[in-house]
């Protein structure tokens, strides 16, 4: 990829990649590492992108794979993901982010791709390589859990309610 195209792609999509990495990693340092690695791969790839959307989906897939890889790196000591250092800091005055990041990953990722990145359930199914029905179930369940968590947070203060174990 030529440098000019790469720089444009980086400016256009780095935030997207970082947000998705944050969803998966729940750790700002890992999310930064993953984001860096994704764009290095983009720079080195020989893939010819059919258009901007093709590039976006490529970035999302590489980001998700890189997140998985970072958890299974040979040198990583076995430890519960809940002990990962430094969770993402919530934006000041906003309760939604900790509620989202407290959801099981499969739900929070589906919600993010739907509500923030604007993908349809079928498109999400293709990205995540799961059936569309699975995506719809995750969206429904994720919305319900997020709603509960937000409503509880509103009532109790800033602490997000426990929804279900992180998976």
């Amino acid at each position: 990829m030529d440098r000019e195209t790469f720089t444009r792609a980086m400016e256009a999509h780095m935030d997207m990649v970082y947000r998705i990495a944050l969803h998966q990693a729940r750790d700002v340092h890992i999310a930064q590492d993953v984001t860096q690695e994704v764009f290095l791969r983009l720079f080195r790839t020989n893939t010819e992108f059919a258009g901007e959307e093709h590039l976006r989906r490529w970035l999302i897939r590489v980001c998700l794979n890189e997140c998985k890889r970072s958890f299974s790196a040979p040198w990583r000591r076995v430890q519960p993901l809940e002990d990962a250092s430094e969770p993402a800091a919530p934006a000041e005055g906003d309760e939604l982010l900790p509620c989202v990041l407290a959801l099981p990953r499969k739900y929070s990722l589906a919600l993010h791709l739907r509500y923030y990145e604007g993908y349809t359930p079928s498109e999400i199914a293709t990205l995540l390589r799961v059936p569309a029905s699975t995506v719809r179930t995750r969206l429904e369940r994720g919305r319900s859990l997020l709603r509960q968590a937000l409503e509880a947070a509103d009532q109790e203060g800033r602490e997000p309610a426990e929804t279900s174990p992180t998976t």
Binding site: R3, H29, P74, A91, L96, Y116, L150, D154
Partner: protein
């Protein structure tokens, strides 16, 4: 209690995530590394504690196809810029930060453990000052076969004098990098300056690196 409908959820979601941006230093790191395409080697670690550069140092091998030179970034704040120094030495410019390095070898209750490839091995009885202990494996990462070799040896009579070198490279030999560490590794002051290769890694570690390059990694076209 407020009830959220779908439109409200979407609105709040957008508002929250609009505020999240990739840190500027991630952009800078990517731009710097891509400027030296193929030269920079990056090791990133995501734990928190004090960095001991004498304990783990990332270098490219200054022989054959691997030229000295590059910028190495740790996860947060630590940068090592390597260039050819005076009289054939290696010049390092170091900006230390506050990040830990995940080491594959650890002393626990007097025994030395190697943690790699999903294994947690007590290698206390396998160490000597004469010959390092080798542990190697290959993993598939993003469609590539990556070879790892850990060699652990003793630079003194005590188990606390252990040192290691980790070599990692694509199986076809198109690239390789390595990390050294352990309390027995030669230590350098955490200051910028020119250092000889012998100051930075023990002769046996240099031999391991050469051995992995020559014997374990096939060269492109072979």
């Amino acid at each position: 209690m407020k009830r959220y409908d779908e439109q409200e959820l979407i609105a709040r979601y957008s508002e929250a995530f609009d505020r999240i941006h990739a840190p500027e230093r991630v952009r800078r790191a990517v731009l710097e590394e891509t400027q030296e395409e193929g030269q920079a080697r990056v090791h990133r670690f995501s734990r928190r504690a004090v960095v001991l550069l004498a304990a783990a140092l990332v270098l490219t091998l200054g022989v054959t196809a691997y030229a000295v030179g590059g910028v190495y970034h740790w996860a947060d704040g630590v940068t090592i810029e390597e260039s050819s120094g005076e009289n054939g030495g290696v010049h390092l410019r170091i900006e230390a930060g506050e990040q830990d390095i995940a080491e594959p070898v650890e002393l626990r209750n007097g025994s030395l453990f190697l943690t790699a490839n999903g294994q947690d091995l007590d290698i206390s009885d396998k160490l000597s000052q004469e010959e390092p202990y080798y542990y190697s494996f290959t993993v598939s990462q993003n469609g590539e076969e990556i070879f790892y070799c850990v060699a652990v040896g003793l630079n003194g009579p005590e188990i606390t004098d252990y040192a290691y070198v980790v070599c990692r490279g694509r199986v076809n030999g198109s690239w390789m990098n390595y990390t050294t560490g352990g309390p027995g590794t030669p230590s350098i002051p955490l200051t910028s300056g020119t250092h000889s290769m012998d100051e930075l890694i023990s002769p046996w570690q240099q031999e391991v690196i050469q051995k992995v390059q020559d014997e374990y990694l096939a060269k492109d076209g072979n």
